[in-house]
């Protein structure tokens, strides 16, 4: 009986610049169903944060309710975390972000937590361009309550009993683009080669970064007729702008990506290098992104990769002039200005 993992790791496992192996970035052993796509996303998360040389305690994992929202327990065991109310992760993250903008915020949500109960929060956090990575572990069903169709289940997709979903699906990527999101990507839990660099780019983006990850529910939504199964996703996936994340320190010399490439510089000097869908696909062109997304949908293709990026956007902190210093580091005299300060304010209003 083993809900445990042996403590031995590969003795030659590589270390990152902090001298840490991925072991330092692991979390508890998952209690999700064997084969759940969410576990692959957790594994990608470990690789991405490890690869960015971020100390685990500089990260805050935020989540709501659901299978997806359990998963922060299974990576970055030494990071901060907040398992909030259903669908309310964005508000809690906003509060945390205002209080301490030095941490890196990783929001993990699901299709129910985002597209149903959390829809209002989701749209507003996009509008506010809050500095965070928002990962939707999207399996098109409510796995935790035995697999009912969720709001992202495609019209006509069959549930486990064979009944087709009569409702139109909410496309979170299209919605985010429409709402003015500054980093929008889609990926597949079964494609870490794409997912890991996307996460790195998303975490390096200053502003709101959405990654909608198709993450098959192996128990309730992995049958023939489902449009979110491993097989269906693999058959319909169209790797869009294939992405390669290039940290600032690394010179761009290697060129593993065939075809024409485009480099997009990020806020902090890092860059995202793309090999493009076609020569005229420009991921910094929002109109084109929306059009291409719809074209793919019409052809029954699932467009993945980095779909849109606006590298130099004004984020929440800049819009609201949020304190650069975390509140927990502010001294009392700054937090509670003296009577003289109040007096001078009052004087100014006379």
């Amino acid at each position: 009986m083993s809900f445990y993992k042996p403590s031995f790791r590969h003795p030659s496992a590589p270390s990152n610049e902090l001298g840490l192996t991925t072991k330092a970035y692991e979390g508890g052993v998952s209690t999700l169903c064997a084969g759940c796509g969410h576990d692959s996303i957790s594994a990608a998360m470990i690789q991405a944060v490890w690869g960015l040389n971020i100390e685990p305690h500089r990260v805050a994992k935020m989540s709501g309710i659901g299978c997806s929202s359990k998963s922060p327990n299974y990576f970055l065991g030494k990071a901060h975390g907040f398992n909030s109310v259903h669908g309310r992760m964005p508000s809690v993250t906003t509060g945390a972000n205002v209080a301490n903008r030095d941490l890196m915020y990783i929001g993990v949500s699901g299709d129910g937590d985002t597209a149903s109960i959390g829809m209002g929060q989701f749209t507003h956090v996009i509008r506010r361009n809050l500095n965070m990575m928002y990962v939707v572990e999207n399996n098109g069903c409510y796995g935790l309550t035995k697999g009912q169709d969720s709001a992202t289940a495609d019209e006509g997709s069959k549930n486990k009993k064979g009944r087709a979903n009569p409702f139109e699906a909410i496309d979170l990527v299209a919605l985010a683009l429409d709402l003015g999101a500054t980093f929008v990507a889609r990926s597949f839990s079964g494609d870490k080669d794409q997912l890991v660099p996307l996460m790195k780019a998303a975490m390096s983006h200053k502003g709101f970064a959405l990654i909608d990850v198709i993450s098959p529910c192996v128990t309730f939504n992995n049958h023939a007729g489902s449009t979110k199964s491993y097989d269906h996703t693999r058959e319909h996936v169209q790797a869009g702008a294939v992405l390669d994340f290039v940290p600032m320190a690394q010179e761009i010399t290697l060129d593993q990506i065939k075809g024409s490439t485009q480099k997009v510089a990020l806020h902090n000097g890092d860059s995202v290098r793309l090999s493009k869908l076609s020569d005229n696909y420009d991921p910094t062109d929002r109109h084109n992104a929306i059009r291409t997304l719809l074209d793919h949908k019409a052809q029954d293709k699932l467009m993945t990769g980095l779909i849109y990026i606006e590298p130099e956007s004004e984020n929440f902190h800049e819009m609201l002039n949020v304190s650069k210093t975390p509140l927990n580091e502010l001294k009392q005299d700054v937090l509670c200005p003296s009577g003289a300060a109040l007096k001078s304010i009052n004087e100014g209003l006379r």
Binding site: M1, S7, F8, H10, P216, Y230
Partner: protein, 611 residues
């Protein structure tokens, strides 16, 4: 790469590193699990079927298994396999074991075989052929069986009772003993009309050291193995106060420790090589140092010094070893000369074969180094009736190698006497591969990997140990330590078996694997595949397990090197594309005797008896 053929038993055999490294291929994890279950007699029988001398080997084996142990690759030290074997031997139920000895047919098959030398090789041949109805005559110059296990291994390492018991298991099968009978002529044996003859006479000739003073001081210069034999058979019971041992192998360790027990006060060991590269097993060096015997490396013998015709000292050239980039050693004298006072000197610098008793005109071809030409597989000499094994076949090795030879020679003799080809008709190994699945997270083996360090084997206090050459100096594991040590075993024989057709490529196994040994990747040549795996592929000796093509066109590649056999891949697999399957590989013995899957049958029998 081509998909791995797991139906070839050698593939999974190689994954069981300890068993693969063992010359006799004893199913190590199988008996360690039994020890963990406190089934000592069962563990003993698994050993006995394979290596005939578990109690002896559990004390004296050269342990080729331990450096191979997978645990040593992920943890600091390998599993203490050898001492666990001793646990099985020390805690077995003697009556139970005696009752499980093979039945010997009273109706013989009419074939008569002579075994020359009563060491481990010959005894193994007897063990395998007696149950088949052969009549076996065993010749040895000494009064008891055991060969060099009796004459050269001191009693403080191997108590006589242990040796007697295991030698008697074989002799009591009805072997005709011709002890105190030195065979002086092979022709005379041939003339007796045996159907086959097996030579297991070991490597009985000690090497000598010819340096100035050797002849003059010969009264106080002893040859290691001969001297040990004289002590063992009580022709000698004392030695001078100051003893120098020349040589750095296990015989040297036995000589110095024996000398210290029968009168040597100042005993030291001198070795030409460095301390690290000397031939003695590390644990034998440890035991020697623990008894206060210094080991002096880089000492090359120069001269025996005599006063009034008596040995008083030895001089040594101090040397330095250096290695070139190919690892070739050069030894240079530094010019320094060291003098060590001594009343006696023991030469333990190696041993050779000697066959003065084999006439050269009886059809046995002799080749290089005056060694008989022996086939490496069948152990048959150029006289088709005569077989060799143990040290007599290819020069000095060890007990476990002699046992392995004995099993193979017995197969050849049986084939030969049944008119089959000793080369082509050799039996395939016995194999068994059975799922160990008991439930979603439950296996029939203890899949948890414990973190405990290698347990130390207990010794008696040094003063007590040195007081007699007959008191065993090592106590071994108590049952608690044995249990922990048994749990350290990674169960490498429980194989990760992959069923491509069931795989949905969800990455569950890849994500959970503690050592990242599973990769789903586009197929390629072995070299480039190894470069692209999820974890560095550092050990090229270990195989890659490659699947056939999966639906995405990729293949599953598992680097066997660091697999902990923890079963998490199989627990995480939603479709049971991975299964943990217990693999048993046994070397088939003469007469196609089915190998010890017996254990389970025995368990069954016991239950019946209990009911």
């Amino acid at each position: 790469m081509k998909a791995t053929d797991i139906s070839n038993p050698e593939y999974f055999h190689k994954v069981v590193d300890c068993q693969y490294a063992c010359p006799a291929h004893t199913p190590v994890p199988e008996y360690i699990r039994l020890i963990g279950q406190r089934r000592y007699s069962d563990a003993y029988m698994v050993n006995w079927e394979s290596n005939v001398f578990p109690g002896i080997l559990g004390r004296t084996c050269d342990r080729p298994c331990e450096p191979a142990c997978r645990r040593g690759r992920v943890d600091e030290e390998p599993v203490a396999i050898c001492r666990l074997k001793r646990v099985a031997a020390d805690n077995k139920d003697d009556a139970d074991v005696a009752a499980r000895m093979p039945l010997i047919p009273s109706q013989k098959n009419g074939k008569k075989i002579a075994l020359i030398g009563a060491g481990p090789a010959s005894l193994t041949v007897a063990r395998d052929l007696m149950p088949l109805g052969y009549e076996v005559d065993l010749y040895d110059e000494n009064a008891k069986g055991g060969g060099f296990m009796r004459s050269q291994i001191p009693s403080f390492r191997l108590p006589e009772e242990v040796l007697d018991q295991e030698v008697d298991y074989v002799l009591d099968m009805g072997v005709t003993r011709h002890f105190n009978t030195r065979v002086e002529s092979m022709r005379s044996i041939l003339d007796k009309g045996y159907d086959a003859i097996f030579v297991g006479t070991g490597a009985p000739k000690a090497k000598d050291l010819i340096i100035p003073g050797r002849d003059e001081a010969s009264d106080n210069i002893h040859l290691g193995i001969n001297w040990l034999e004289s002590v063992a058979f009580e022709h000698l019971d004392s030695i001078g106060k100051k003893v120098v041992i020349v040589g750095g192998g296990n015989t040297a360790m036995d000589c110095c420790r024996t000398a210290k027990r029968i009168g040597g006060k100042e005993v030291s060991v001198t070795v030409r090589s460095t301390f690290e590269t000397m031939k003695a097993s590390p644990w034998e060096k440890d035991d020697t140092l623990a008894e206060g015997i210094p080991i002096l490396p880089n000492h090359s013998p120069r001269e025996f010094i005599l006063e009034d015709g008596k040995l008083v000292a030895m001089t040594f050239n101090v040397v330095a070893s250096s290695y070139d980039e190919n690892g070739k050693r050069t030894i240079k004298e530094t010019g320094e000369i060291v003098t060590i006072e001594c009343t006696d000197a023991i030469m333990a610098i190696g041993q050779d074969n000697a066959f003065p008793w084999i006439e050269r005109d009886i059809g046995i071809e002799f080749g290089e180094w005056d060694m008989p030409v022996v086939d490496k597989v069948s152990f048959q000499s150029s006289n088709e009736k005569i077989f060799f094994g143990g040290d007599a076949a290819f020069g000095p090795e060890n007990v476990i190698t002699a046992v392995a030879h004995g099993h193979q020679a017995a197969i050849s003799i049986d084939l030969f006497l049944n008119g089959s080809s000793v080369k082509e008709a050799r039996p395939a190994p016995g194999t068994n591969l059975v799922s160990s699945k008991m439930g979603i997270h439950q296996w029939s083996y203890d899949s948890a990997v414990i973190d405990d360090d290698r347990q130390a084997s207990a010794h008696i206090p040094v003063e007590q140990a040195l007081s007699s050459r007959k008191i065993e100096s090592e106590i071994g594991f108590d049952l608690d330590a044995a249990f922990i040590e048994a749990e350290r075993c990674l169960n490498c024989d429980v194989q990760t078996v992959f069923f491509e057709k069931k795989c949905i490529e969800c990455d569950g196994c890849t994500d959970i694997c503690p050592t990242n040994c599973i990769t789903f990747i586009n197929n390629d040549e072995e070299g480039s595949l190894r470069d692209k795996l999820n974890a560095p592929s550092v050990n090229k000796e270990q195989d890659l397990y490659v699947s056939t093509d999966l639906p995405t066109g990729r293949v599953m590649v598992k680097d066997e090197d660091m697999c902990l056999h923890c079963g998490l891949c199989a627990e995480r697999c939603p479709t049971s594309a991975w299964d943990m399957q217990q693999f048993l590989y046994t070397v088939t013995k003469a007469g196609n005797e089915p190998a010890p899957i017996l254990v389970e049958q025995m368990g069954g029998k016991k239950q019946e008896q209990a009911a």
